[in-house]
Every structure is written in C-alpha cells, then in structure tokens.
C-alpha cells in the first residue's frame, strides 16, 4: 500500500477577508498524477501555491512526507502558467539554471543536452525564448521543471495558451515524463479533456471546500480521445463542476 505523500488537513485561506479555501482536506499518493478542476475562483491555484510553499494557510496544515510545508522545497518543481522564462537566458542556460542554483558544477552540460534532445529542443539550445514558438517555449519551461529530477511536479494550466495540436503533443510529453520518472503530478486545469488525458485521478474542488476524488477510467487507455465514452465522461465532469452538491 502506498504511503500518503501530500496531505492537507483542514486548510483554510483568506485573502483580504475573503475566504478562498475553507476546511480543505486532501491526501495524495506518491507517483500518481492528479488533475485539479473546479469553478473559477474556487481556490485551485491557491492549493498549488500552498503545496509549493509559496503560501501559508491561515488555518490547518499542509505537509509533504509528514513534514509541514513552510517554504518551497528543492524536490518540488513548478510549471507556471506564465512560464517565467527569463528573456536574457538562452534555452540551454534556462534549463541548466535549477542545477546551478543547487550548486552543481559538474555534468550540467551533458544533462541539459540529454534533456533538450528528449524534448526535441536540441537545435534551440542557443536561442532566446522570444525566438521560439509558444509550444517550444512551453517545452523549455517543462525541461527546466524536469531537470532537477523532482518528486513532485506542480503545473498551473500547463497548456492553456497553446493551439490544439501543440497542446496534444505537450500533453503526451508531460504524461510520458511523469510516468517514466514516477513523480507525483498535481495540475490545475480549466480544460476537462486535459484532466481526463493527464490525470489518473480527478479532483473536483467544490465551493464548500470539499474535494471530490474520482478515478479516471481513461487514464491507461491508448488514444483516449478516440474511445467511445471519452466525451461523455468529459460532459459528466463538466456537470459535476457546475453542481453545488455532488450526486
């Protein structure tokens, strides 16, 4: 039986006297991918920020491996919606940065070259972010996220700014890398289809703070989008997001 990896216990967060999260309880296992969906303003990104250590709860505790999260940890990697690629860093410099920040000095070039090759970015090592397409930029940010071999990957709407083809390509890449590395993936998305493609479990954040956890029947299915019932599943999930109380 797998041990609890992340646990949130009665977590509440207020912003400017407005309650964003109220008594949230959540337990996540190691090596599994979780899609977090819910209405806009329901506090999905706040949950990511709490787990990342960017934010402290007003009440309750967030812990990873039983240790209370007080600040960002090296083993957690965050793929931001805005990507945050520094315009003065080349692709290779951006991907190498997490290792340099850890104080690693040897073997960085080799690791970067290997990862860039895996993500199809080997020709772009000397380019700057603004010389790349949206999909390529997203892959660079993904490479920067993965290079430090994190045990937890957090993603905030990882493919929201991409066209349909690039989105599918990147989703495949994220799925492959997460499964290969056996890292825990927790991502927020507005796209229910993306949740069904990438999440082994789907977490629906309700307005009263409860989280409904569903196992995704299509997670281990090849070409899930082409399967009968895939879109019905998406419609069912959309309905569950809209409903105040779950059935």
């Amino acid at each position: 039986m797998k041990k609890d990896f992340i646990s949130m216990d009665q977590v509440s967060v207020d912003f400017d006297r407005q309650q964003v999260l109220k008594g949230v309880n959540l337990t996540l296992e190691q090596g599994i991918s979780y899609a977090l969906i819910g209405k806009s303003g329901s506090g999905k990104t706040t949950i990511l920020n709490l787990v990342a250590g960017f934010l402290k709860p007003d009440e309750g505790t967030v812990s990873i491996h039983g240790v209370k999260v007080q600040r960002p940890r090296r083993e957690t990697a965050f793929l931001f919606q805005e990507l945050g690629l520094l315009p003065w860093q080349t692709v290779a410099e951006a991907v190498a940065m997490p290792l340099k920040l850890r104080g690693q000095k040897k073997g960085i070039d080799m690791l970067v070259a290997e990862l860039l090759h895996k993500l199809g970015l080997e020709k772009h090592g000397n380019k700057y972010p603004q010389e790349l397409s949206g999909g390529e930029q997203q892959r660079v940010a993904l490479a920067r996220t993965l290079i430090g071999e994190p045990d937890l990957i957090l993603m905030d709407e990882p493919t929201s700014a991409l066209d349909a083809t690039t989105k599918e390509e990147l989703q495949g890449l994220i799925r492959w890398e997460q499964q290969k590395r056996q890292a825990t993936l927790l991502f927020v998305t507005h796209d229910v289809e993306e949740a069904v493609i990438l999440g082994q479990y789907i977490l629906i954040l309700k307005e009263d703070g409860r989280i409904v956890q569903l196992e995704n029947p299509y997670y281990f299915t090849e070409n899930a989008r082409e399967q009968l019932g895939f879109y019905e599943e998406c419609i069912k999930l959309r309905g569950m997001i809209k409903m105040e109380k779950d059935v």
Binding site: G84, L101, P129
Partner: protein
C-alpha cells in the same frame, strides 16, 4: 586559444567592426550635415561670434595637444563622477526597487531633489570640499546620481513578479536572485541611465570647471569666451561634442557585449 577567449575576441572584433561601419554610415553623415547647417548659420549671421566650421576645424587640428590635455582632465573628472554614481546609485536603486519600506521612505526625497537646479549647490560644495577636483566631481555626482537611482529602481520594479516566483520555486538564495535575475534584468536600465548621465555631465563641465581650474574643456571654453576668442570657444564646444560621440559609441559597444541578445534593444533577433 581557448574557445571562450576566442569567442570573446571574435565578439569584440565584430563589435568594433560593426561600430566603425555604423559610424561611417550614420554618424559621419550626421556630423557633415551639422557642419553644413553651421556654415549656413555662419554665412547668414555674418558675425565673428559664429566662426566658420572650417576655420574652427583648422584651429582644432592646429592645437591638438592642448585640447587633448584639457579633454583628458575633463574625462577623468567625468569618469570619476560616473563611477562613484554607479557605485552608490545602482545598490540604492536596487534597494528601493526590492524593498517597499525603502521605496516609501526615499522616493519622496528623491522626487523633491530631482527637479532642483543642482548647479545652485555649487557654492555649498566649494565651501565644504574646497576648490579642487573634489567639489567639481561631487557637483557632477549630485547632478547625475538621482537619474541613476530612479532608472535602476524602475528597472527592478519592471521585473515581472512571475520571474521572482520562478526563482523562489528553485529555492534561489538572495545572492542567486541578484546574479540570475535582478542584475541581468536591470542592465539595459543601467546603460540607459549611463547614457543620460554622460550627456548631463559633459554639459555640466562648463559650470564645474569655471572656477579654480587650469585644465578641463569646460574651463577652456569659458576662458575663450572671456577672451572673446570665438574660434577657440567653438573649437572647445566641438571637441565636447566629439567626446560625447566617442563615449556614447563606447557605451553602445559595451552594451552590445554585456547585455544578452534577449534583452538588448541594440541587438536584433535574427
């Protein structure tokens, strides 16, 4: 030769070659147009107060050693003032950009002093620091440092918050934040602050070197003015302009070499 030093050498060589090409193409043409305009003025006004450009150029060529000596003295003062302003202005600007309390405390003071006519403080500096180089350099620092602090502060404030979040997510230390994020982000602002500062300091030489000076291009112009030797005076003015062109080009070259292509407004993306 090692690959790194070869790359640096190639970069410098390309920078110099590019600089010469640009100068030949653009700035030389600009200089010639200026001389033509000057000649037109000279012919229209027909007064000895505005000498002909040719006469002025001939004068410059005749006394290059004297002018170089005066230029050298002025340049040393300008460089000292800019160097000290950088040493104080960059950390102060960064501090105001990253620390909200510092910004709230110091910004009103800065806004208050910034528009003041700084030259008016000259008697105070003379009284406090004597008639030598110190008071002249401090006057120039006083003129340019606020511009420098504001440029750097604004540069830090323009860094998107998401960049800081990225650094936090990788557990960057304070030193690493400066090395990988803040300093590269504000480099273009430092250069633009320097560009403005060079212009202002060269213009302020006329005031800074108008007392107790024996060497300095400001002194040279003022001395010619008092002798009513307008060819000499215009010779000095022209030389200040040429020094400005030289310094601006040097700064452009430095910027091209030190600011990465991604953030460098002077480097076009392919």
């Amino acid at each position: 030769m090692k690959e790194g030093s070869w790359l640096v050498w190639t970069g410098i060589k390309r920078g110099i070659q590019g600089g010469i090409k640009r100068f030949a193409k653009g700035q030389f043409a600009g200089f010639i147009s200026f001389l033509i305009l000057w000649e037109v003025f000279h012919l229209l006004l027909n007064t000895h107060t505005v000498p002909s450009p040719l006469e002025t150029l001939v004068y410059i060529v005749k006394v290059p050693g004297v002018l170089l000596l005066h230029c050298g003295a002025s340049l040393l003062r300008v460089m000292a003032a800019i160097g000290i302003s950088l040493l104080i202005g960059v950390p102060a600007g960064i501090l105001m950009g990253v620390n909200e309390t510092c910004k709230r405390l110091l910004s009103p003071l800065l806004y208050f002093i910034y528009p003041m006519p700084k030259i008016a403080f000259l008697p105070i500096f003379m009284l406090l620091f004597g008639l030598g180089n110190t008071s002249k350099i401090i006057l120039m620092i006083w003129i340019i440092i606020f511009q420098m602090i504001l440029s750097v502060r604004d540069g830090v404030e323009q860094i998107p918050p998401s960049y800081f979040k990225v650094m936090d997510s990788f557990c960057a230390t304070a030193g690493q934040r400066y090395r990988y994020l803040i300093l590269p982000a504000i480099l273009p602002q430092i250069f633009s602050g320097l560009r403005i500062s060079i212009g202002i300091t060269l213009a302020s030489l006329f005031f800074a070197e108008n007392y107790a000076a024996v060497y300095g291009i400001g002194y040279y112009i003022l001395s010619a003015w008092s002798k009513m030797d307008y060819v000499e005076m215009f010779g000095g003015i022209l030389v200040i302009g040429l020094v400005g062109v030289l310094l601006f080009n040097l700064l452009d070259l430095l910027e091209r070499l030190s600011v990465p292509r991604g953030t460098n407004p002077r480097k076009k993306n392919p």
